[in-house]
Symmetry: C2
Subunit: 152 residues, 2 copies
DNA sequence: CCAGGACATGAGAATGGTTCTCATCATCAT
DNA sequence: ATGATGATGAGAACCATTCTCATGTCCTGG
């Protein structure tokens, strides 16, 4: 992996009628290095050569091509990461206090059991072609030490 | 349950320095009847006596009181449901094509195993006080029958 | 009863993340 | 080269959400 990440991206972009331009390659590299879902400001920070509108447009293009995924956080804005077939299947630790998102992988056997069970439930409800999304909500170490009140 | 839903709400609202007004009661009843996360337009639909700004404000108040939870969907807007300690712990079937969200409960033992494992992983990563969120992504029956292209 | 204080409401303005528009550039095939 | 097709950047437009402010409502103490 790693080397052909860009090949795969190029192919998929081609299929969806797009080009693998320098800026799109740049975005893919940024997301690859980050290893965690990034918000637009994170991507823009200290890179004054990226136009915000182009970043949005290109992330949308990469999403359409199936290379990038928009992660919905409960922060009022979105974060972006590479799709799982380009990395490893993983889940997120989400800090409910500062919004920081961190990747985790869960054990194979739990994954399998979750998948199996959910698949059954989904079918029963008339849903098809199912993936799952499993996130942990908590407080990261940094937020836990200073006490940020959440609820009385 | 059901009867004291309103008592609990009144108490929690009181604790967080608010009143259980007619409109807030109304919102709680709407969410209770729905049994699925509702978007603001769903709540407003055919109820011209509710001011949009008040609905937002009141849902925020109810969320602060721990009665309501904002569910982040990948639709660009939020949905609201009663918190789990007022209903049952459950998860969502999310249709990736039409955005419809439906509640599901998963078997006790899977829940337990997920909780146990995630707790361990979280602790290892320095996260504390963890809840989980487990959603199914797929296509609902309605969207599956008519073919809505998602990706080539 | 009446007055005052504290919170709730409604309408619309303001905010902020995201998407669209449009004029200009780059890239590819002929 | 040359024209077509798509990409880029800057800013305007959009839309969900939040804020403002002028009332309204409810409870409390006199």
């Amino acid at each position: 992996m790693g080397a052909d990440l860009h090949e795969v991206t190029a192919v998929r972009l081609g299929e969806s009628g797009g080009r693998y331009t320098r800026q799109r390659r740049h975005l893919v590299e940024i997301l690859e290095r980050a290893g965690m879902p990034l918000a637009i400001p994170d991507i823009l920070r200290g890179r004054r050569n990226l136009a915000q509108s182009s970043v949005y447009r290109n992330l949308a293009a990469l999403e359409r091509a199936g290379v990038v995924r928009r992660v919905p956080a409960d922060e009022g804005f979105g974060r972006y990461e590479l799709t799982e077939d380009l990395t490893e299947h993983h889940h997120h630790l989400i800090c409910s206090s500062c919004g920081r998102v961190q990747d985790v992988e869960v054990p194979e056997d739990l994954e399998r059991e979750v998948d199996r069970t959910l698949d059954r439930l989904a079918r029963r409800a008339g849903f098809a072609s199912v993936a799952h999304r499993l996130d942990l909500i908590g407080r990261c170490g940094r937020c836990a030490t200073r006490g940020t009140a959440a609820r009385a």
